[in-house]
Amino acid sequence: MSKYTEDDLREELKTKEYEYGFYTDIASDTFPIGLNEDIVRAISLKKGEPEWMTNWRLEAFKAWKEMTEPEWANVNYVKPDFQAISYYSAPNSKPKYDSLDEVDPELLATFAKLGISLDEQKKLTGVAMDVVVDSVSVATSFKKTLGEKGIIFCSISEAIKEHPELVKKYIGTIVPQRDNFYAALNSAVFSDGSFCYIPKGVRCPMELSTYFRINQAGTGQFERTLLIADEGSYVSYLEGCTAPSRDENQLHAAVVELIALDDAEIKYSTVQNWYPGNSEGKGGVYNFVTKRGLCEKNAKISWTQVETGSAVTWKYPSCVLKGDNSVGEFYSIAVTNNFQQADTGTKMVHLGKNTKSTIISKGISAGKSQNSYRGLVKISPNADNARNFSQCDSLLMGNECGAHTFPYIEAKNKTAKIEHEATTSKIGEDQIFYCNQRGIDTEKAIALIVNGFSKDVLNKLPMEFAVEAQKLLEISLEGSVG
């Protein structure tokens, strides 16, 4: 036996303590379940926020306490117990798995179909990565290019600290704290999200994607996005990922606010593929999102979304066309399969003169799912010569699913021109047989028909995103026709 000195003992205790301390530190970074003022304060404190932000959160929390969960959507689910959720969990720095072999093979098969690279697969599933140099360097050069143009693109937590004047000026101006139940909840407890500012007259030279954002891990279930396009600027922003997102958090309540100042244009594209639950309808994410944009004079906002995931979706990306000659667009594909339920659409609020809006909604229902389009076109008394064109098409697969359309129109100005078209069709056995006879098997035939049906919207997506979205549609509907 070698001698064991006091010094050795001290040394060992030191390292042990460090290890232990480090570990407990992480463990204690998840808050106890439940929601009260103290929790809201604690979240703000954890994030090192200034007092105005803490107060803003507290105001939201007060409002939320007085509100009740809305029930008007055409969806059925067990309401979440808001006191049974933990509202803060620090980003987990520990890898979930040591190698890809430990990851659910079904998930990996899906990745392969989507053509996602091995490195990306590791990143998405939370496997420890040896080679991070690539993505870091990409992100760094990316940041440099943006910085040269004066574009700010960072997490909202960072923005609150680094650019408080911008956040303070705009946050909650488009979606106020008390806007609705989930927006109020989000305002009180939002964990993180993205912030983007494009200076006057700047055309953002690349598609901004959350994928490239440094420090993106663990944005959590209450995401908050604020995007400001200053006068005469342009930005195309991509949100989400076609890769399936499995998340233990059942409830997701995000808020997105867009501000397009005079002559600015924002193109906001989303691909949402949250876990939809299994084929029996167990599990799956509840996605209650508030997305709204404001257009000043001559400004334009386009929302394009491909929604394939989530067990329950409740989402209405909207445009407030405040400035004269402003333009709002909404292009949407919503796919529901198995027991999924989606109630999605848009609101176009015409306030300014000569404002124009276009709505193209494509709903695809399969299995036992329910797919609803809900849209409001509102023309205020001062909105002379406002125009809207809406087209809502539904495609049904099988006999057990449902498609519903709830268009609301409020026109308070006689000069308004509003057009609404709606169709419902079913993938027919005749169409399938026709494809079969040309050598195309049933699975591929459905993909072809669905892609044809969705073409008007897919065309609005940035090129690479469109290709991925197309593959995603195929995968989402796999096995939906027996």
Binding site: Q437, G439, G452
Partner: protein, 250 residues
């Protein structure tokens, strides 16, 4: 090439084909005629493999292989083509995209790579010239808003692209005026060779003035009750189908 033996088929338990025997060799043109409801279109669908039809007895042998258990797409891969009486619309899918998918799926089934885009373009150019089809037409959504004549020409264009061994033309003449009929028939004639075969299904003789058959068969009540040369078609045109019915029922 195709040999049908004692074929019985039914849909929803109702017997429609009641013992068909037919042999078609490479290089031949056969016509199947018959009154409405005699089972002509059913025969076309059964050969092509439409699922709703159940083969209850007999065999369909294509190039020496029993095919009645194969899926419709597998039969297509082996070279069976059906020109539909009522081609369906597929909105948002262009004729070109549809053909590209069909050709590449067939190639995939044979273990081949996708056809290179350059070759695909060349093939499309070649075949659309052969059939005098305006190429603007090929970017339109499949059959959506097509006139009757356009739909049938599109069917023949697809046949040209897929180069089947056996082409079944199901009532290709229905809904066509005489000019459109001539164009479609010319297309078929240009595609005919000693290696392929055509089965024309028609109610009227007029198509057979343009696509001249080697054999004419009369289908009545689920059976081929009379076979002959092209002159049989003329006889039917003159006398109608009643004398056949009487002969059978006698």
């Amino acid at each position: 090439m195709l040999k049908i033996e004692n074929l019985h088929a039914s849909v929803e338990d109702k017997g429609i084909l009641k013992g068909i025997n037919l042999e078609i060799k490479a290089g031949e043109v056969h016509a199947i005629m018959g009154p409405n409801g005699s089972g002509k279109s059913t025969l076309a669908s059964v050969i092509a493999g439409k699922e709703e039809y159940e083969v209850t007895k007999g065999n369909i042998v294509f190039n020496g292989e029993d095919i009645e258990d194969l899926a419709a797409e597998e039969r297509a891969h082996k070279g069976i083509f059906l020109s539909f009486q009522y081609p369906v619309e597929i909105p948002g899918v262009s004729v070109t995209n549809f053909m590209k998918t069909a050709i590449n799926e067939t190639r995939k089934a044979k273990g081949l790579e996708d056809m290179p885009a350059k070759d695909m373009l060349k093939l499309i150019r070649e075949k659309s010239e052969l059939l005098e089809i305006d190429r603007k037409f090929l970017s339109r959504s499949l059959n959506e808003g097509f006139s009757g004549g356009e739909k049938k020409r599109n069917e023949i264009f697809q046949m040209a692209m897929l180069e089947p061994q056996l082409a079944i033309l199901d009532e290709t003449d229905s809904g066509l005026d005489i000019d459109a009929l001539r164009i479609v028939a010319n297309g078929v004639n240009k595609l005919k060779s000693k290696d392929n075969a055509v089965l024309v299904i028609t109610h009227y003789q007029r198509l057979l003035d343009y696509i001249v058959p080697d054999f004419v068969h009369v289908l009545y009540n689920g059976r081929i009750v009379k076979s002959g040369g092209k002159e049989l078609a003329h006889e039917l045109e003159e006398k109608g189908y009643d004398w056949i019915k009487e002969e059978v029922n006698a």
